[in-house]
């Protein structure tokens, strides 16, 4: 049983699991309704009169803050609650493969929900001539950001067998990773801290990196940021699970 076979087996089981219950359909419907209502109602999409999706993408970090923890909360908490973790960990599956397989399944699922917002894209194409490169980059950025939220949520889900606790913890931690790039927070730091600190705080924020990608430039550094953040939290995830079994 190679590492990738094990990862794939876990991925497949998890991914099919989403669609075996109403969970996937309920989530996708809520996701699309939230995306649509925020963009059109709160974002005054039509009133701007511009064929751009930056209003739509601008809401993503804030909607992800609640929607992504709803996916990630069950990843490990449920396994621990039902006892299936004992089954999973006594099969010849490396912990890293299990963590990665579960994460990738959740990320693929989030990707599908995101792709299903394509009517937004069609709408702006119909209304005008948008910069498709910017929109494509924004989709990539949004998906990377979803991966960041999911990795944090997965690691925190391993800490508990209670999904509600996993959800709340994830919202709080993700909120800190998001808000640290917001003007309010940066203004607060700017009033007294040296620029190095302000930049450091800002550089940890999803907003900063996401905003950079939303401008249409998929910078290598932003990809590295999300990639290493995901790797870091999945690594923490593995440690948490190993720690629970250690002698």
């Amino acid at each position: 049983m190679s590492f990738w076979n094990a990862t794939y087996a876990v991925f497949r089981r998890e991914f099919e699991g989403y669609f075996a219950t109403p969970l996937a359909y309920v989530f996708i419907v809520i996701f699309l309704l939230a995306m649509g209502s925020f963009t059109f109602y709160f974002g005054q999409f039509y009133a701007t009169g511009r064929a751009e999706l930056d209003i739509f993408f601008g809401f993503h970090p804030w909607l992800y803050l609640f929607l992504i923890p709803a996916i990630s909360m069950r990843l490990w908490a449920e396994e621990q609650k039902t006892g299936t973790i004992e089954l999973l960990m006594t099969l010849p599956i490396p912990v890293t493969a299990a963590v990665l397989g579960k994460f990738l399944a959740a990320w693929a699922f989030a990707g599908i929900a995101l792709l299903l917002t394509f009517p937004m894209w069609l709408t702006v194409i119909y209304l005008g001539s948008p910069d498709n490169g910017v929109i494509f980059a924004s989709y990539v950025g949004s998906w990377l950001m979803a991966g960041g939220y999911l990795a944090i949520g997965s690691a925190l889900s391993a800490l508990t067998n209670n999904q509600v606790i996993a959800f709340v913890l994830t919202v709080v931690v993700c909120f800190m990773f998001t808000i640290s790039g917001h003007e309010l927070v940066l203004d607060f730091f700017q009033s007294w801290a040296p620029l190095v600190i302000v930049n450091a705080v800002s550089s940890f924020s999803f907003l900063t990196h996401y905003a950079a990608i939303m401008n249409g430039v998929i910078d290598f550094r932003d990809i590295i940021f999300f990639g290493s953040l995901i790797a870091l939290f999945l690594f923490i995830n593995v440690i948490v699970i190993d720690q629970k079994r250690a002698g």
């Binding site: 004992e86 010849p92 250690a246």
Partner: protein
């Protein structure tokens, strides 16, 4: 095929398993007896690689469980306590997942699943979600999962718990039928089960082995020749005094 030496497991200040050594050979069916909290499940969790030992060594088919966990786990079929299984899957999906993880492909997987399903009598519920199954069927799904890859070592934590008398009989028959080619460990609260399936019984109390012998030898320890009396004498708080009395 199973060799355990000086096995210790501590949870904080609590010593759940306090120095267990034993060997189980091919063809043997070893019954783990003991009151709740005696360390039976913890010992099984260590043999199967779910929990790491605090001290001591476990070898399964020549593979050290800590050094070569996947080789050891590949040789083991394990039914954890309560027979956990993914509730949103059907038995056939679940067994396919296990087959995939066990490295069984296409024809081999299909054949293994057919055999396991036939042996555990799951044909009638293959397409029902596991969460809708009765306790007896859930247990049989767990058994089917454990024997799927025809492992040389079988570890079963309370395999007949919650089954009706007919189902108990059937599971015991299944264990007996497979035992010649395997090294088997089962844990049980039901003393008659020892007579029914075990070739050897080990009584564990407070993390230590207090008796080890064939069922007949254990019977002989009590003047009444009843296993219940031996069990009670060895595992009640003033066990030492009573143990001397029966000796």
């Amino acid at each position: 095929m199973i060799e355990i030496e000086g096995l210790v497991r501590r949870f904080g200040s609590l010593t759940a398993v306090g120095g267990i050594s034993l060997r189980v050979a091919k063809g043997e069916v070893l019954g783990f007896l003991g009151p709740n909290g005696a360390g039976k499940s913890t010992t099984m969790k260590m043999i199967t690689g779910y929990l790491a030992p605090s001290e001591g060594r476990i070898t399964v088919c020549g593979h050290d469980v800590v050094e070569e966990p996947f080789q050891a786990q590949s040789a083991i079929g394990y039914l954890p306590e309560g027979a956990p299984a993914y509730p949103d899957m059907t038995p056939v999906q679940f067994l396919n997942f296990i087959a995939q993880v066990r490295g069984l492909k296409d024809e081999a997987a299909k054949k293994a699943i057919d055999v396991a399903v036939a042996r555990t009598g799951l044909q009638s519920v293959l397409e029902q979600r596991i969460e809708t199954l009765s306790k007896g069927f859930k247990r049989r799904v767990g058994l089917a999962q454990a024997i799927l890859h025809n492992p040389p070592v079988l570890i079963m934590d309370e395999p007949t718990d919650g089954l009706d008398p007919n189902q108990k009989q059937a599971v015991r028959g299944l264990i007996r039928a497979m035992s010649a080619e395997k090294a088997t460990i089962i844990s049980t609260h039901i003393l008659e089960e020892v007579d029914a399936v075990c070739t050897r019984a080990v009584i564990i109390d407070k993390g230590r082995i207090v008796a080890d012998g064939t069922p007949a030898e254990l019977h002989a320890k009590s003047p009444t020749k009843r296993l219940d009396d031996v069990f009670r004498a060895l595992t009640t708080p003033d066990a030492e005094i009573k143990a001397e009395a029966v000796a």
